[in-house]
Symmetry: D2
Subunit: 255 residues, 4 copies
Amino acid sequence: MSLKEGDYVLLLTSDGKSYLVEIKDHNFHTHKDYLNLKDLIDKNYGEIIYGKKGEKFYILKPAIYDFLMKIERITQIVYPKDIGYILLKLDIGPGKTVLECGGGSGALTSAFAYIVGEEGKVISYEKEPKFQEVAKKNLKKLGISHRVVFKNIEVLESFEEKEVDAVFLDLKTPWVLIKASWEALKGGHPLGILVPTANQVSQCLLEIEKNPFIDVEVVEILLRHYKTNPERLRPEDRMVAHTGYLIFAKKVFEK
Amino acid sequence: MSLKEGDYVLLLTSDGKSYLVEIKDHNFHTHKDYLNLKDLIDKNYGEIIYGKKGEKFYILKPAIYDFLMKIERITQIVYPKDIGYILLKLDIGPGKTVLECGGGSGALTSAFAYIVGEEGKVISYEKEPKFQEVAKKNLKKLGISHRVVFKNIEVLESFEEKEVDAVFLDLKTPWVLIKASWEALKGGHPLGILVPTANQVSQCLLEIEKNPFIDVEVVEILLRHYKTNPERLRPEDRMVAHTGYLIFAKKVFEK
Amino acid sequence: MSLKEGDYVLLLTSDGKSYLVEIKDHNFHTHKDYLNLKDLIDKNYGEIIYGKKGEKFYILKPAIYDFLMKIERITQIVYPKDIGYILLKLDIGPGKTVLECGGGSGALTSAFAYIVGEEGKVISYEKEPKFQEVAKKNLKKLGISHRVVFKNIEVLESFEEKEVDAVFLDLKTPWVLIKASWEALKGGHPLGILVPTANQVSQCLLEIEKNPFIDVEVVEILLRHYKTNPERLRPEDRMVAHTGYLIFAKKVFEK
Amino acid sequence: MSLKEGDYVLLLTSDGKSYLVEIKDHNFHTHKDYLNLKDLIDKNYGEIIYGKKGEKFYILKPAIYDFLMKIERITQIVYPKDIGYILLKLDIGPGKTVLECGGGSGALTSAFAYIVGEEGKVISYEKEPKFQEVAKKNLKKLGISHRVVFKNIEVLESFEEKEVDAVFLDLKTPWVLIKASWEALKGGHPLGILVPTANQVSQCLLEIEKNPFIDVEVVEILLRHYKTNPERLRPEDRMVAHTGYLIFAKKVFEK
């Protein structure tokens, strides 16, 4: 099971920087050293490869977390701290069909597609063609773009799907699609929304109240990194203070 | 696809309380009303069932999140805010083989088993027989206990497995099993640890430094719920201040 | 400088509970023991007094923090984590004149009166007579009620004061008094506001924008307690998730 | 009460930057404009002064908060979110005598000296001469350096003072001075400590346990800023994740 052309690896240098690279005939440069990525062929995850100037590069298996953090992005992306929770709330698992609207650069799309597996499916609406192009490229790196139905459509009134297992909205005015989300969902199944501002939360909640949704939850998640010196354990100096508010609800046929 | 005996549903009442119940011939009581759970047969998720005194019960599809929150517990459990992040860092997806030590009541085990799917496998070590009995029961509710190999063994030196995709440790002295985790892991693949105290983090970091692990990360995750009144949006009064610190690292063959 | 009748002491028991008591001829009961508070006369801060059944009571000097935490309250009070920051932002120090509207039970009033000293003054508006009665009692315990001008008035249009050093608003609709606050303040001096909901923050900001205020800041402060076992250092299980949002701005004559 | 030479003002520009300046014959430059600070004489707080190129500068009264944030620093300083809480826990008010060890650049010293007023006193130990020089300069800006007794001494065993109202330690190894702090304090009065790492918290707690201190508290305080757009209310993207842990305890004569 050695590495072969086309595989992705995470290269970690001794100063703690990491790089997600594809194995191919290409010179990869850091500020200190370089190597030809073809030399990774027949190496194994966990081994070291040395740069032309002697720098160590650890060859690591990129986890889905690493793909999400290294994703090519031209929009604000959804972060792992939020994605992990979204997966559990939306009940994403092998075989599920998830609809998302506002796919952006494809971070959340990638996580969905990774978890639903070969039997599952992700329908990803995104009105902006250039965002969706980036998302497609990102999904290809993971080798799972065939699990995603990309739709380059601005949804105004309703989705083309019915009876999906979960819906996620990540757009500026998600409240205009709450009715559409209801129509697309199976009974008793979950809707999720991400918005950056408190005002948007209020507008979503108002619209959710008007539709047959219950079990409404609004949360925000904070993640704090610690420095890893065991004799001087302490949080990092700075952290992300906000990514967005998460809203969840479940569809019922009547309230 | 109507409901049938043996299915699990989440019943939500109008006062916002929810209950995870199995459909069988059994009278289910809340403080206000009751119903026979057999009457749920042939109903559908998203519908309402009325109690004998007229109380509304919304019939919802329990998400994996709901199973985790309603799990029968006789130990401290791992919470969704942490589980979601663990899944992404440990690269859990369909087909993966995960080893955990300190399975406890089986919350994390359930999430792992849910995500690895039918092609994946979870090996769950737990020295305490009564904890593992509870974990087994919880996995059976989800209908996926066959994906888990339960081992009622106190691991002292090494695990019986090699070449697993990920290892997770949730026990009092995880540092004694860091070498064993290294031996069980595939090269370049991730280890995760949960500990409640800062002193334990320091001890784990010391041991991780001594072994060929790199890409070390220590984080803590805070989740804050908001009240869902759109005209008076504000966080809840109280929140969980701490569940545990999460430690992650990746195995290499040499440092 | 031994203790005398009328002094306040903080009694701390061995199980960590503390009580703010006045020295007078009165039997003070805990669930385990009791003592006559007159027996504290001629004792000193830092000493132990024994209950009639042998329980230890540590005699501590109540800090202003302790007065704030033990205050008699019939309204939501402002908490020390917020009060400390308010003091610094509003530039409260000896000799200052502060106007507050919505005095409530008098927690913030107490802190203001404590810090402005004998040369300073606090003007405290509160429309509800029974709230102001409680505030007066609380200030008397601290022995500094003479530093406060209590006004049991509902302010509709303007305050009776001009040229005050700082204004603080703690009421449901603070935006209606932002113009009045401007008129009461010295040029270049600070206004502070506390509101519990995000919607109120937005309404305040809208009104602040319409008036000659600049240097606007909105913050929230979170305080997390740790368990004090040095071998098992970790945060408490639960914490206060929210008290309120703090808004600050400074008056200018024109924008 | 117009401004005169030697006064300090906070100049705020239209792009939200602020500068703490002393009024004297000096050209003050921003990247956009400049003005001679002597032209501030006879102006008033709250007014506008125009730069030579027409830029607006708002003339604001610097609050103690502003002095703390604009302080000249050659060490890590204590931040307002922590200082405010320290003031309340240590019962700092007019007339109090506070001893601090590890004065650093003088941020906390400034706040203490500001609040104790003309009748109070701050004793500030700092072994590093160049740190203390900076602290002295900072206190002079506030016009209250006469309230501080600066001691350029490395304390090894005991402080020269007895019967002080409060002690605060801000140094690398505060545990070596916990006995000395006990000796310097009045009975029943508070000790405060700031340390950046969890390991230091544990070491302090161990030493506090060995000495007659009770009512022990360990906390950390997080402050999150919000963007001030009322239509798009949301936290800032990034925040300070950690300054330090605060430890408090009160002296008793025996445990």
